[in-house]
Amino acid sequence: MGYAYYVGLAINGAVEGLTIGLAALAINLVFAVGRFPNATTGDLMTVGAYAGIAVQQSGLRSLWLQGLAAVGASMALSLALYLFVFRALRGRGMLAPLLASIGLAILVRSVLSFFAGHDQYVFQLPIVRPIMIAGIPVQSYDLWLGGVALVCVLLVMAILFLSPIGRQMRAVADDLTLARTSGINVDRVYLVMWLLVGFVTGVAGMVLGVRTVVMPEMGWNMLLPAFAAAVLGGVGSPAGAVLAAMVVGIAQEMSTPVLGFTYKIGLAFMVLVVILAVRPAGLFGRVERVR
């Protein structure tokens, strides 16, 4: 097999990594500011994708409108989860919100399948043939996906690093007590953070929905790989999460000629365990003291 085969594998890995990377980005935000691994991330994506499908079923064929609905629904749900559950759990450590998020994830998924059933839905998009660039087939949807992911990451980074609320968010992430005593409106910071999470998961759900099929388990199935990427990327490093997801994705696909396809997901987790054994703070994370 020639180099084109391996380049193909690398592209596949990068594209899958980007899809998961968006979810990892959302996880990373909560990780840094809310200080717990958010297990509802996958199901926020699912709800977004179903909202997009609802718009399509009502006859509106614009992908932009569908995407808007997806982002809106995920943001609304994310906000609701914060207001009704996670706000009350602030200051209760890592475990309480993690357990609540697992419960919420199960709840959201079963409510969704109760009403929407288990039949699959699909975003009706024309099938586009690849174009050849230097002997490598390139798919236009991949370029779109890359663009969307890039815009998403840049937007999150811009908000985090250029806006006043972003600075406050980082302050809260660094030291909650210090941030509070220096007069930062912590409530507002959390509110914006959860809205941002809703935005990213909405986009991620739409991307996943377009690439695969829309079913109640779609987001939940992405949760563990996304967790792995978020941890590998390191807390407080949004670009790191996306990069880590791509690294894992590429490593997974490039390993298939040797390891076969059934060990792919296992490989991702083994990479996670091994890297954390060597670098307890993740690939791109800062070393923090425990407790």
Binding site: P37, L224, V231
Partner: protein, 295 residues
């Protein structure tokens, strides 16, 4: 009806073992473990493979406990180095690695086809009442032994050290004790109990397949533990009881809600588990069996 109640009681005992051992990890020692189903799976496959290869049950159960404990050892070492949120994810990943390996290593585990025909102890007593009751006696014995072991651990000097570690690790270190070794040992003991639960499960179900060991099982056990109360032995039993009640009791619910389609019942069952977990974390974080002022 007795036979059916016996069957449900056996399954309850298996879940009680899982809940008790998770409680040893978290409730008594503060170790975060979201990979409990991994130890359960290792125990189930170890016992099944031993007895399918003609070894006595004792060997199978010993292997189940030993291999699960062995798998816990590196994880316990890792637990010492990691932040607890990372640890939650790493343990989750561990249980998925176990499942992937079991699925992929077909020469050993028969992969996705599963292992059928796992022998059952007391089969010579015949089908029905007696064999079933004998098996119930076995699992009840296992639960009682696990409770005694955990109580002994908690009350012994070793146990006081465990709780001291949970409450203030730095102080323990200052006293010149080594919390690391203790934590790893507790992790291994809890894993061994989960491994025994797996062995009992495999011999009771007669057939195991990797799909039975999804992370959802871990989450069920967490729900049972939180519901009963972290750090409470009676809580573990109550929590496991409520869990079985939800999973097995939906027949009653169906009678109350006759308009609910059969297919939708599966969603409702799951929804109830999720909802209870959220509500307990929010409003009764110490669980049913722990007094509010404790903790």
């Amino acid at each position: 009806m007795l036979a059916y109640i016996t069957a449900v009681a056996i399954v309850f005992c298996i879940y009680a073992l899982l809940t008790l051992s998770l409680n040893l990890h978290f409730g008594f020692t503060g170790l975060i473990n979201f990979g409990h189903v991994g130890f359960f799976a290792i125990g189930a496959y170890a016992a099944a493979l031993c007895s399918l290869n003609g070894m006595p049950y004792v060997v199978g159960f010993t292997a189940a406990a030993a291999l699960a404990a062995l798998a816990a050892w590196p994880l316990g070492l890792l637990a010492l180095r990691l932040r607890e949120d990372y640890l939650a994810i790493v343990t989750l990943a561990f249980s998925e690695i176990v499942r992937v390996v079991i699925t992929a290593e077909e020469w050993l585990t028969n992969g996705v086809q599963g292992l059928p025909g796992i022998p059952r102890p007391f089969a010579s007593l015949g089908i029905g009442g007696n064999a079933e009751l004998a098996y119930l006696a076995l699992v009840v014995t296992a639960v009682v032994l696990a409770i005694l072991l955990i109580r002994h651990l908690v009350r012994s000097p070793f146990g006081r050290l465990i709780q001291a570690i949970r409450d203030d690790e730095v102080a323990v270190k200052a006293l010149g004790k080594n919390p690391a070794g203790v934590k790893v040992r507790v992790f291994m003991i809890g894993a061994a109990i989960a491994g025994i639960a797996g062995a009992l499960y495999a011999h009771y179900m007669n057939y195991i397949v990797p799909d039975q060991f999804l992370p959802l099982v871990t989450f069920y056990v967490w729900m049972a533990m939180i519901l009963g109360g972290a750090g409470s032995i009676s809580g573990s039993l109550v929590g496991a009881g409520v869990l079985i009640g939800i999973l097995e009791g939906s027949r009653v619910v169906r009678d109350l809600l006759p308009n609910v389609m059969q297919v939708e019942m599966a969603s409702l069952r799951l929804a109830l588990v999720g909802l209870l977990l959220v509500l307990f974390v929010l409003y009764r974080p110490n669980g049913l069996m722990v007094k509010r002022d404790e903790s």
